[in-house]
């Protein structure tokens, strides 16, 4: 009788567990799990009442039923916990997925300013020359006639002076018309070898569509033993390729500057028409970018160099012109209008 009773209890527990397993399997959310927990482990559950009534059983049966009941309780608790954790994670994941986020709302941008286009191009060119071992030299913008003209082989009444319309501060003090005076100033203070470039502002008394009274140049000067015209060509070709691109052709045309001889103007092939001739290059297929030449030996006399021992070359290029050609800017004046919409493009 007692055995039967026990068997009955164990059987009902087993069935209860089966029910539990079924229900848990069907549980879809943590709420279901909670309900199952109440149903199978709560006060009114079979296991609760079994334990509650265990006192009524014989002392032999007590431990058997007690042990078995506890095993089921533990099993159910574990399974509930497992299921609950799984469902929680699914629900959490679902909640995350349900968030509506507009990924394309404007972000909080850090403020971005801009270097001036002229500064950027100067720095770029400085980097090219610094890489070739050049130093960067500077000189005054208010300059004497001596350094701006006289010592550059351009005495008073020289016809080339008329090419430079000059701002004067007094009879013999002026705003430098080019960066070339720094050639003399540097050579006065340094013995060869000289490898320098000189970026800076220069001034000419000209103000119209294609002239501003102030603009920017980079001067270059090399004086060393055995420097020749081929070295000038190599250096300027290399630089032109770096600035305008490897595929540009470079040509040298004879020209005249009082302080170089032989003198040259350097052209690169037009990027727009590939040399065929267009409006930008006035049909020639070429764009003039710089003036250059072998240093005129007369200059060495002013700075006490031995013309038989050293030779050199010099060049000058207009930064605004480089910018215009490279970026297609068509009005020189826009460089100095400082319109933020212009500045921000570079």
């Amino acid at each position: 009788m007692q055995e039967n009773k026990a068997e009955e209890i164990l059987k009902s527990l087993e069935e209860e567990y089966k029910d539990f397993s079924e229900s848990l399997k069907e549980a879809e959310n943590t709420k279901d799990v909670e309900n199952i927990k109440v149903r199978f482990l709560g006060k009114k559950s079979l296991v609760s009442s079994t334990l509650k009534n265990i006192g009524k059983l014989s002392s032999e049966l007590k431990p058997v039923v007690g042990k078995n009941t506890n095993v089921y309780i533990k099993k159910m608790e574990e399974e509930l916990a497992r299921k609950e954790s799984r469902l929680k994670s699914i629900e959490f994941d679902k909640k995350l997925r349900e968030e509506i986020v507009d990924l394309n709302l404007p972000g909080r941008k850090p403020k971005a300013g801009s270097k001036n286009i002229i500064s950027s191009v100067i720095e770029e060119i400085e980097d090219i020359f610094a890489g070739m071992g050049f130093d960067i030299a500077q000189g005054p913008e208010v300059e004497t006639d001596y350094y701006n003209f006289e010592a550059l082989n351009t005495p008073q009444d020289h016809p080339a002076r008329s090419l430079h319309d000059t701002f004067f501060i007094s009879d013999d003090v002026l705003l430098r018309t080019h960066t070339s005076p720094v050639q003399i100033r540097y050579m006065e203070k340094h013995k060869p070898p000289v490898y320098i470039i000189v970026p800076g502002k220069v001034y000419r008394r000209d103000y119209d569509v294609s002239h501003t009274p102030m603009f920017t140049q980079i001067e270059g000067l090399v004086v060393d033993k055995g420097i020749n015209f081929g070295n000038l060509k190599w250096t300027l070709e290399t630089v032109a390729h770096k600035i305008f691109g490897k595929d540009r052709k470079v040509r040298f045309r004879p020209h005249y500057f009082p302080f170089t001889e032989p003198s040259a103007e350097v052209d690169v092939s037009c990027r727009i028409c590939e040399g065929a001739g267009c409006r930008v290059c006035s049909g020639s297929g070429w764009l003039e970018i710089l003036g250059a030449g072998m240093v005129d030996p007369n200059l060495y006399r002013f700075v006490d160099y031995d013309t038989e021992k050293v030779s050199g070359f010099a060049f000058g290029l207009g930064i605004e012109r480089v910018c215009m050609l490279r970026y297609g800017i068509d009005d020189l004046r826009s460089f100095f209008e400082n319109d933020l919409r212009f500045l921000k493009q570079f």
Binding site: V142, S162, L163, M214, H255, E261, D296
Partner: protein, 797 residues
């Protein structure tokens, strides 16, 4: 300078020269061809025709029906002009011709067919206005192309002749270049001159320095007439307006030889005596352009015994000008001092083809050659033969120069070896005689290149130029390795530019110039005392060199606001100028200007609108100070400047160096500038700022113990500066105090009037241990008691 292909062909005696080839070789030898023009293109389908019949249009009063012989066939033309007769030769535009952008076709005019058009000079673009159609003289042949018949079937080159090559300001000079480049044998030999023995003209040169040579010839019994069509055409193509034969000839010979000529009406001269002298004070002359010119000493004049008759080398005088009644002509071919002509032409503001040539120094040997050419052309055109010998006055000058050329030096300069043979070939091509002498080449520079070939290097340039620059090889210099690169100063400027653009500022670059009016408006105070002034400014806006970057940057604000760009964080790195204390140059100082105006933040979906204020600007200075002077403190000391708001105005000091100023633009100034928003501006003396940067840095071990933050809030008199409070805190704290940060500032109702509440977060850290709470409490107590003792501060509960 302009010249034409046919002219060159004529001088070179060659017919096989292509226009583009000539343009290319000239450009690549140093005489840049700026433009190549084909004037005949305008006259396509325009031919010489002859009117063989004409009768009034039956249905129109002012129209005439013409039958015109066009050689191939006869055409009916309806014409509106009235200045022609049967038999006249005319410029006939056939259907397809293009006149002033209108294509001519066959049309019906008042019911009659017109198979083309008879053209006026104006319609042909040959003159600005004309009456009636152009009537051609008998020499024109019916059926010939009009352009060819007019001498316009030519190619015009526009050349840029460099200032060292006055010889190239002529067809002959350019022909010489082409001859050298193409290996054409060409020589201009002395034709032989008949020098006058008589005293028909007396030439008195007062100063051979001003006029090394004066040659002249008298042509008698000249008949006034027009120059031939071909000559007029060439002059026009070279931008010279034809006048009459004599004047046209002077211009033509000038273009051809490079020697300016002037023709006087001999009978209008007061005496058969030409005096070349410096102008006297107060002398005047009416020049042929009908202007009265005040002459200044130093200008050269041609005078007769009554006074100046020409402004030497620049322009002739009206009173002795060639005119319809001229019978006897005095032709002048002179050589004047280049610099004198340049100065005179500059001070008179009068440039001419002649002055342009004299300025660059012309070969004095050319005078006779040009007179002879004039004479030959005159004889060829008119058969005229009545002339005197040449009167010639000059001071003998050395015009031949012997130079030694070392082939080894040529190669040293040019890089590629050229043989002595090749070098001499090039020189000979340029008509520069040379011969080998040992290792060297002896060169005789001829008179026409005397001015520009003075030294061996000048010859080397000639060789490189004719050989072709692009034939030399390119080689990297054989240098010893050099470090090169940037000085610390240059690095700092680059870094500054990088940082400032990185934190949102845009770099402007303004002109160095400033006007008196702007200086006054900005009340720049002491800075306007030692201004650098330009004596020849473009206009008053450009009269001074700026002593501050502020005015131009404020103008940038104004200019941008015009386009509704109102939020402007800007900076500029440029020089400012003042008179130097020593020497004649200026004192040039590199300055950094930083300007903020407008919104710091626009309203956005997740941000509120906010505007720049003084502390944004100060924050930038703090950033720079911290970056370059991490050990030093930035301190602003209140100081008034005329252009700043009196309260927001001060000097900025780092350590013990005053590096610049900072403030808010005075509301009055903003109002004057018509800028309705606050502007904050700081100007830093970059030379001082950068020169004092200590570049050395030493590593400090990273702290390993945690720090503790404690907050305190105090109430103090509102006049006490935050830097004073901070100083007391730092002084009272021990080495454990590592940071002081103001996190709240309050003035207002909650607290006593005249007081402010300042709340600080203090950071403590032990270098060798984790601090205990008690240690920090002791610190705080000490700090508070010091604040109370020194600043009468009370702890705010």
């Amino acid at each position: 300078m302009r010249l034409t292909l046919n002219w060159l062909k004529e001088i070179l005696g060659r017919n096989d020269l292509g226009a583009l080839d000539i343009a290319d070789i000239l450009t690549m030898s140093g005489t840049e061809v700026k433009k190549v023009e084909y004037p005949a293109e305008r006259f396509k389908n325009i031919i010489v025709g002859r009117i063989i019949e004409c009768s009034p249009h039956p249905d129109a009063d002012k129209l005439t029906l013409c039958r015109v012989d066009a050689k191939e066939r006869e055409l009916d033309i309806v014409c509106g002009a009235a200045n022609f007769r049967k038999g006249d030769k005319v410029a006939l535009a056939l259907p397809g011709a293009k006149l002033k952008n209108t294509v001519i076709g066959t049309s019906r005019i008042r019911g009659r067919v017109s198979e083309g058009m008879m053209c006026s000079e104006e319609e042909l673009g040959l003159s600005d206005e004309s009456e009636g159609i152009m009537i051609l003289d008998d020499r024109f042949v019916v059926g010939d192309g009009f352009a060819g018949a007019m001498g316009l079937d030519d190619v015009v080159f526009e050349l840029e002749v460099t200032p060292n090559r006055p010889d190239c300001l002529s067809v002959m000079g350019i022909a010489r270049e082409i001859a050298a480049l193409k290996g054409i044998g060409l020589r201009f030999d002395d034709p032989g001159y008949s020098i006058a023995e008589d005293k028909g003209l007396d030439i008195l040169i007062k100063d051979f320095g001003l006029c090394p040579r004066y040659s002249a010839k008298i042509f008698s019994n000249i008949r006034g007439q027009q120059s031939p069509v071909w000559m007029q055409a060439r002059l026009k193509l070279c931008d010279i307006r034809p006048k009459d034969l004599i004047v046209d000839l002077t211009n033509y010979v000038m273009l051809e030889t490079g020697q300016p000529l002037h023709a006087f009406d001999y009978d209008l001269l007061a005496s058969p005596k030409i005096i070349v002298r410096a102008a006297k004070e107060g002398e005047r002359i009416r020049t042929i352009d009908d202007n009265i010119r005040e002459l200044a000493p130093g200008m050269i004049v041609i005078a007769d015994e009554s006074g100046p008759v020409a402004l030497a080398g620049i322009m002739g005088g009206k009173d002795t000008e060639i005119n319809d009644a001229t019978k006897n002509v005095l032709l002048e071919a002179a050589n004047f001092n280049g610099p004198s002509i340049m100065r005179a032409s500059k001070s008179l503001g009068l440039r001419s083809e002649a002055s342009n040539r004299f300025e660059k120094k012309i070969d004095p040997h050319l005078t006779l050659f040009a007179i002879k050419r004039f004479e030959d052309l005159l004889a060829k055109i008119t058969g005229h033969a009545e002339s005197s010998g040449i009167y010639d006055s000059f001071s003998p000058v050395e015009r031949e120069r012997a130079l030694t050329l070392r082939p080894q030096k040529v190669n040293q300069i040019l890089g590629d070896p050229l043989s002595g043979q090749k070098i001499m070939e090039i020189l000979n091509g340029l008509q520069i005689p040379s011969k080998k002498e040992g290792d060297n080449i002896q060169v005789k520079v001829p008179s026409f290149r005397y001015e520009d070939l003075e030294r061996e290097i000048d010859l080397i340039e000639e060789i490189a130029r004719i050989y072709g620059y692009n034939r030399f090889s390119s080689n990297p210099p054989k240098v010893n390795q050099r470090a090169g690169g940037y000085t610390p100063y240059q690095k700092a400027v680059r870094d500054l530019r990088f940082c400032l653009s990185g934190i949102g500022l845009s770099e402007v670059i303004n002109y160095s110039f400033i006007s008196r009016a702007t200086l006054d408006r900005f009340m720049l105070g002491d800075r306007t005392k030692e201004l650098v002034r330009i004596i020849n400014p473009i206009n008053e806006d450009f009269e001074f060199l700026r002593p501050s970057l502020l005015p131009a940057m404020a103008q940038n604000v104004k200019d941008n606001i015009k386009y509704r760009i109102e939020d402007l964080p800007l900076f500029e790195i440029s020089k400012v100028f003042k008179k130097a204390k020593k020497g004649k140059l200026a004192q040039e100082t590199n300055m950094l200007g930083v300007l903020l105006t407008g919104r710091r933040q626009k309203k956005g979906w997740n941000s509120e609108e906010s505007f720049y204020d003084f502390y944004d600007l100060k924050g930038i200075l703090e950033y720079l100070s911290q970056r370059y002077y991490p050990q030093q403190k930035l301190l602003i000391t209140h100081k008034e400047f005329g252009f700043f708001h009196p309260a927001f105005s001060g000097t900025a000091r780092i350590g013990d160096i005053d590096i610049g100023i900072i403030g808010k633009i005075h509301p009055h100034l903003s109002e004057k500038l018509e800028i309705a928003q606050d502007i904050y501006y700081s100007e830093i003396n970059l030379d001082l700022f950068i020169d004092n940067i200590k570049t050395e840095k030493h590593f400090k071990p990273v702290p390993v113990y945690p720090s503790i933050e404690m907050d305190i809030a105090i109430m103090v008199d509102e006049k006490i500066g935050s830097h004073e409070i901070e100083q007391v805190i730092w002084d009272a704290g021990s080495a454990m105090l590592k940071g002081v940060r103001l996190f709240d500032l309050y003035k207002g109702e909650q607290i006593e009037k005249g007081q402010k509440s300042m709340a600080y977060s203090l950071t403590f850290r032990g270098d060798d241990r984790t601090l205990k709470d008690r240690e920090v409490e002791v610190e705080i107590e000490r700090i508070i008691s010091s604040l109370s003792k020194n600043l009468n501060a009370r702890l705010r509960q």
